[in-house]
Each structure stands twice: as C-alpha cells, then as structure tokens.
Symmetry: C2
Subunit: 164 residues, 2 copies
C-alpha cells in the first residue's frame, strides 16, 4: 500500500475511470458495487473532493442515499469483464462480488469497503449531494436521459487515497 | 500559446487554483472577473467538465446566471495582488480590470474573455448548474456559510484548454 496525493494521481485515475471503475457503497447491511465512467476531482469547501454520479434507477442509489460514505476503486489491471458485468447487471438480481470474484477489503477511514485489487483507491465521506434538475441541463446532455432517470451528484470528501 | 490536455494539467491547475485563479464571465454587455479558490475537474455526461462555485451574493452571480459560458485563467506568475483584490472587492464598486491592470483577450471558443496572462486557461460552456440546498450539506461545511449565501455550482464543458 502506497499513500498517494489525490491530485497527483487525478490524471491517471480519470484516464481509467473513463474506461470503468468501481463505486462501492455500504449502508447498514446493504452493500453493492457498480461501474462508474464519470467523476470529477478537486477542492471545494476547503476539502479535497471526489464527485460521483448515480442514476436514481440504480440499486446503488437506494444504498448510497442511506450511506455516510463511498469508495472508488480504480483498477490498474485488466478488469474489463467485471467492469462490464457491474455496469450492466443490477445488484438486485446478482451478488456482483461473487459473480465477478471481487474481493472486498475494509477501508481505513470509512464504512464502505474497497475492492481489493491493484489500483488507486479513494475513501470518501459524503459532504453534499444534489439531485439533477433537468431544467438546468444542456439539451445535448439531456439526450443521455431518454428514460428521464437523472443522476444525483454525490460530493465526497477524500479521507484517504492510496495505491495497492 | 500551447494546447494542453485538461487532465494532464489538472494537478498543476488545481495547486494554483487553491491559491487563487480568475473566473471571468460575460453576458451581453455585463462583464466581471472574480477570484476562485475551489474547483473540480473531470469527465461527466461524456464531456470534459470544469466545475466552479459562485455565491449568490456575488456580483458575478448575476452575470453568470445570464451567461452561456465562463473562463478560468490560472496564473503561473505572481498575481497575488490581483487575486486578493478580485477576491475581496466587488465588480459592483470597482472596474477590476482597470484597478488591477488586467488585460483581456478574446477566447477562441466562448464569449467570455480570458485574462491575458501567463498560465493555464480553460474556456467552458455551461451545460448544467445546481443551486446548493443546505439540507444536503455536511454540518462542518455549513460553517462556511454563516450568512447563508450558498454557492451555485456551474458545470462547464471544457471547449479549449491551453497555456499562455
């Protein structure tokens, strides 16, 4: 395990996130992971911030709405099969961890675990969220929502960032 | 002028933004610049995204609410005097460009001009915005708003990114 500066690894992380990374969330006994392809990283409210987006239709949405935190695990080895499965199948129908042989590890600072895999890991405490109001969305972006299942944006304060 | 990959320069940009950068906005004849210290950078809605935050109490807020775009100019020389002035004085009371001897240049892709100074420049088209609902804000972050003048978050699609 190697500690990492979140902005020093932002480019490397973002390049892989575009191809797929794992957003893992735990609230009480409920636990799920899903593939994300979008994120922003920076500094807001005097805190290092990692923003993720979850569609209201997702199984993960019901969990993250009750959660205090989330993790993002950005694989640096070929995990495309798991990325594909976790991005197209629902945690309502499958135990994604079992189906994809994904091993979990306890996080160091938050409740949600990380995916134990070589790569970058961000442990984030949710400090703000905003449901997307389509009134304020560009018409071209609106086309990404034919079913009107908009994202909620979750802003996580980065509590820890490291490479496995 | 040197073209830049927005994520390749994100770390360099963010390190300076924390110390102060210029958010410049034009809508019709109205034009202003203000100092920002917060931002996030990434990829959302299949687009490169730069997020900035503007308090509703700001002169710039009235302009950006009518604007289609904004620019962020991240100085790479010592501009602390201008950063301080533009972060503490209002465009309602001062012509900041004149007071700080800030020269403007036309942007290449958007209406809002850039500050013509050595550094990184981001030209951004506004594709989404979200007013902050304090109900969903962490109690520690809430302390940054004793006057309850919350930020609105503006998500700009990066149209161009270059170094002067």
């Amino acid at each position: 395990m190697k500690q990492a500066d979140y902005m020093a690894v932002a480019e490397k992380a973002m390049n892989q996130i575009k191809k797929g990374a794992f957003l893992t969330v735990k609230a009480g006994e409920a636990l799920n992971t899903m593939t994300i392809g979008w994120a922003t990283i920076g500094y807001v409210w005097r805190r290092p911030i990692f923003m993720v987006a979850v569609r209201d239709s997702r199984h993960t949405f019901g969990i993250i709405e009750k959660a205090a935190d989330f993790t993002v695990s950005v694989p640096m080895t070929d995990m495309q099969d798991a990325v594909m499965f976790c991005g197209t199948k629902s945690g309502r129908d499958y135990d994604k961890f079992k189906e994809c042989s994904l091993e979990l590890s306890d996080s160091k600072k938050v409740t949600s675990p990380i995916i134990n895999t070589p790569g970058l890991h961000f442990e984030c405490k949710i400090v703000f969220k905003a449901a997307m109001d389509p009134v304020y969305l560009d018409a071209e972006c609106e086309k990404l929502y034919p079913d009107r299942d908009y994202h909620t944006l979750y802003f996580g304060e980065i509590q820890d960032c490291y490479e496995l």
